[in-house]
């Protein structure tokens, strides 16, 4: 009665990631073809060698045909998956299990989202017929509830917390400025972020993830076969997933300062990977910084900071590029935007680069030799979300 995990049974042997931006000149098909082509080249395998495919997309297409048609796959199983903002990670999780089961030798996980064809700013879920009583708040509005609750619980002056949140955005912008694949490549000072007008609670648009199109992909094989393809495979250490039951919305006990689903997924992942102190054992983490208060609270939910201490660790620079646990070294959702199906795989792509010492010099982390990296997604709202945590390593054991 526990998740046993598949530590060191499966490895990633190739990855690709498009630039994330407003791809007015690229369709969903184009983004899929570009990401898959780069990924196959990275792994050194041909398209037809891939036995099975998983496609993550929240609302850019339905069914496996969305991938099979543009790539002209020949009689291959392709499964389209969706799991809110963890959609890309979910595609990878399914591909890893398929290989671990022995059902396939080579599997691919592909994530894509074409967000910018809707004509509206932001992410907009397609409507499912309902009784019309659902709340109409934006995600920014829902996550903005976290900031005052956190400030109140830990006795922080809201103006001080405002600067802490801006520091998170500033750090991610600084990292993104060093990344050619990022949508936003401009450094932003804490002062300039604090000067922006609020749009939801105390949050300004600079506390929110950008909105971009993009695609990313990974090829997975059994760990025993990995060195046939590359001398630097990345091994799957843990795959954890929690779909919350929404009780946070109805339970007066929930105080909007933590995300139980993320904490539970983190604990499961650490158990699978055999990690006891994530703050010192991890080389880096890519977390779901959809809004600045989200990243703040995640530092505590994922065990990087003690409860009520994350804001101090942020201020001390612990999570900076050269801090003791670098967070969102590629620039995060803040710099990349959030093409839902692609984000989880984009995060893994950064771990792939960093753990293989292949990140550009200006953002290569000092801690890569710790050998372990974490990716995290959440989707939904405080009190009502899904969460994924994956842990990846550059060596067995």
């Amino acid at each position: 009665m526990a998740s046993h995990g598949i530590k060191d049974q499966v490895a990633i042997i190739g990855m690709g990631c498009t630039q994330f931006k407003e791809h007015w000149d690229r369709s969903t098909d184009d983004l899929l073809i570009d990401a898959v082509t780069d990924t196959l080249a990275s792994a050194g395998v041909e398209k037809d060698q891939v036995d099975a495919w998983w496609l993550g997309t929240a609302q850019s297409g339905m069914s496996g045909v969305t991938l099979a048609a543009p790539l002209k796959l020949q009689n291959k199983p392709v499964t389209r998956v969706e799991n809110y903002c963890a959609t890309g990670s979910e595609a990878l999780r399914q591909a890893c299990y398929a290989v671990a089961s022995g059902a396939y030798d080579i599997a691919a996980a592909v994530g894509v989202e074409k967000v910018k064809d809707s004509g509206y700013q932001g992410l907009n879920a397609f409507p499912i017929p309902t009784d019309g009583t659902q709340r109409t708040l934006t995600a920014a509005g829902m996550f903005s509830l976290v900031a005052p609750a956190y400030a109140d619980k830990y006795g922080i002056d809201p103006n001080e917390l405002r600067r802490t949140l801006a520091r998170i955005a500033s750090k991610n912008h600084s990292n993104g400025a060093k990344n050619e694949r990022a949508q936003f490549r401009r450094e932003m000072s804490v002062d300039s972020i604090c000067a922006m007008p609020a749009v939801a609670g105390m949050l300004s648009v600079f506390d929110c993830a950008g909105v971009a199109d993009g695609a990313a992909a990974a090829i997975v094989v059994r760990a025993a076969d990995a060195y046939k393809y590359t001398d630097k495979p990345i091994f799957v250490k843990a795959l954890a997933m929690v779909a919350g039951n929404g009780s946070g919305l109805a339970d007066p006990e929930f105080d909007y300062t933590h995300f139980d689903e993320c904490e539970a997924a983190g604990k499961d992942a650490y158990a699978q990977a055999g990690i006891t102190n994530p703050r010192t054992e991890l080389a880096m983490a890519e977390v779901h910084d959809c809004f600045t208060p989200t990243e703040l609270v995640l530092m505590e939910d994922l065990g990087f900071s003690a409860r009520g201490e994350a804001w101090k660790d942020v201020e001390a620079g612990a999570f900076d590029l050269h801090g003791d646990l670098p967070i969102n070294t590629d620039g995060g959702l803040k710099s990349f935007g959030h093409p839902v199906g692609a984000s989880g795989l984009r995060m893994l792509f950064e771990c792939w680069l960093q753990l293989r010492h292949e990140a550009p010099e200006e953002r290569q982390i000092d801690t890569a030799d710790r050998g372990l990296a974490l990716t995290h997604n959440l989707g939904g709202y405080p009190g009502d979300m899904v969460s994924f945590v994956g842990i990846w390593g550059n060596r067995l054991g």
């Binding site: 309902t130 009784d131 019309g132 009583t133 109409t136 708040l137 109805a250």
Partner: protein
């Protein structure tokens, strides 16, 4: 004894100063102010608010019929009253129907209820009075809801009558005074003097016949309410009443405006609220004819809060936001179309999904787990505490007060009137719902603020009006605050 069992008025929170109209349009809009329904209110929601108060005052009275009157209905073809029927959680055996679309509806429904043999009949009225900028309906109109529960006193059920019906009369004659095509904003009218004189004649005719029917002499009367779209039409009668020492009560023209189909019952409520036991009162309603009703106020009236739920019309006159901008008013009524946020408009609700969740959507009924007591909003089959399946009872929450646990102001979300003010609300005695606030300015929201639920129209898509509940601050009056204080004491 048959008469009025309870009566309640509902005035929306907002007031527009007529001076604000003058400043924009140049020509004088007169003095005083008018009441303004918020962007999420309509004739039905205001009628429901009044209906909740009227029914809440007499829990043991079970109406067997609901008649709804408005000149600003949400739907043609579809009956509007059934929405109020759902929001008030009346039984399926209770008939609910619209009593016509003209101004005379409320008088007809009241007469019908008073002449009925049903133990109790609920008459609901609500109206949003609008028109082109500078129109009479804009300047002199007002928005309101009103409800009266009519029926017989019954020792068995403990139902009493606060105003005994003594008699009345009607006078009808076709003439063209004011008219409006369905769906039009503008009401047109014939020369004022014509209507005033026709109404004057009809009022005099009904008045004399009514006195005779009730067996009353003029000097037996204490207070009278004169209601109609032509204030001058009853000037002669008012003069006669004044000479006889009969008080003609304030028509609310300067503080609320003429609230159309809501006005007769709003004025009847105000009349009863201002009266003492034993006093004889009369309502004269002029609308395409004239109808007069005489009552004797009984000793069941308890001072200034005897009609319903302790919230009087006078309370609501005081407790209002008097600073609404004319531009906001015009935008709310659609007279001044404004650019909506660049967000997808809401999808229409599913009729089938709404009907499955009728008690939740319209009645605000959650569920409560028997074993753990955990309250579920919306209702659930599986408890989030303990996990029991299908072991819940309905938990009606519409009349339960809540406190704001945390809140936010969202300028990005789609709303007919941005920004969205949104709060996580914890209900007294258990239960939580993150829900939109209304009738509040963002700067006035605080953590710990007490709120109560109100039935509102969230949006309209594909011509479907989507109703649900929001929370509004509990102000100086109301049962919610008393209830919360009581719960805290318990």
């Amino acid at each position: 004894m048959r008469g009025i069992i309870s009566a309640a008025g509902y005035l929306p929170h907002w007031r527009l100063q007529r001076e604000a109209i003058t400043q924009v349009l140049g020509s004088s809009a007169g003095k005083g102010q008018r009441s303004v329904a918020s962007y999420d209110e309509d004739s039905l929601t205001m009628a429901v608010d009044a209906g909740r108060r009227a029914l809440g005052a007499v829990p043991s009275a079970n109406p067997s019929a609901l008649w709804f009157c408005t000149t600003s209905p949400t739907y043609a073809e579809k009956t509007n009253a059934t929405i109020a029927h759902a929001a008030l959680r009346l039984g399926s055996e209770v008939i609910a129907a619209d009593a016509g679309s003209g101004l005379r509806g409320p008088a007809a429904a009241l007469r019908s209820a008073l002449h009925s043999t049903d133990p109790a009949v609920l008459v609901l009225t609500g109206d949003v009075r609008t028109g082109p900028a500078g129109s009479v309906d804009e300047k002199d109109g007002g928005d309101a809801g009103a409800a009266v529960l009519v029926g017989a006193a019954s020792a068995d059920s403990g139902v009493a009558v606060i105003a005994e019906y003594l008699g009345g009369a009607s006078a009808t004659r076709e003439f063209l005074d004011r008219w409006r095509s369905p769906g039009e904003a503008r009401t047109r009218s014939w020369e004022d003097r014509f209507g005033e004189q026709r109404y004057g004649d009809l009022a005099a005719q009904a008045w004399e016949a009514g006195l005779k029917d009730a067996g009353l002499q003029l000097d037996q009367l204490d207070k009278v309410a004169l209601v109609g779209p032509r204030p001058r039409a009853s000037a002669a009668l008012a003069k006669k009443l004044g000479a006889a020492g009969v008080e003609v009560i304030d028509s609310l023209a300067s503080s609320v405006g003429f609230t159309g189909a809501a006005h007769p019952l709003l004025m009847l409520t105000s009349l009863i609220e201002q009266s003492q036991p034993g006093q004889v009162i009369a309502l004269l309603a002029m609308a395409d004819g004239a109808d007069v009703f005489f009552f004797r106020v009984t000793d069941q009236v308890s001072g200034d809060s005897g009609t319903a739920g302790g919230v009087t019309v006078a309370d609501q006159l005081e407790d209002a936001d008097n600073t609404l901008l004319y531009s906001k008013y015009l935008a709310w009524r659609g007279v001044l179309p404004v650019q909506p946020p660049n967000r997808p408009e809401p999808a229409r609700m599913s009729a089938a999904a709404a009907e499955r969740r009728l008690d939740w959507k319209y009645g605000f009924v959650g569920s409560k787990d028997h074993e753990s007591g955990a309250l579920h909003l919306p209702p659930a089959r599986v408890s989030f505490e303990g996990g029991n399946i299908d072991d819940m009872e309905p938990a009606p929450m519409a009349d339960v007060a809540a406190t704001v646990a945390t809140f936010t102001v969202d300028s990005l979300a789609y709303s007919p009137s941005p920004p969205v003010v949104f709060a996580v609300c914890d209900f007294a005695g258990g239960g939580r719902l993150p829900v939109e606030l209304t009738d509040v300015r963002p700067a006035d929201v605080t953590i710990g603020m007490t709120v109560e639920m109100t039935f509102r129209r969230l949006n309209t898509a594909d011509e479907i009006a989507n109703y649900f509940w929001k929370a509004r601050p509990v102000r100086g009056h109301g049962t919610a605050r008393e209830q919360l204080e009581k719960t805290e004491q318990d």
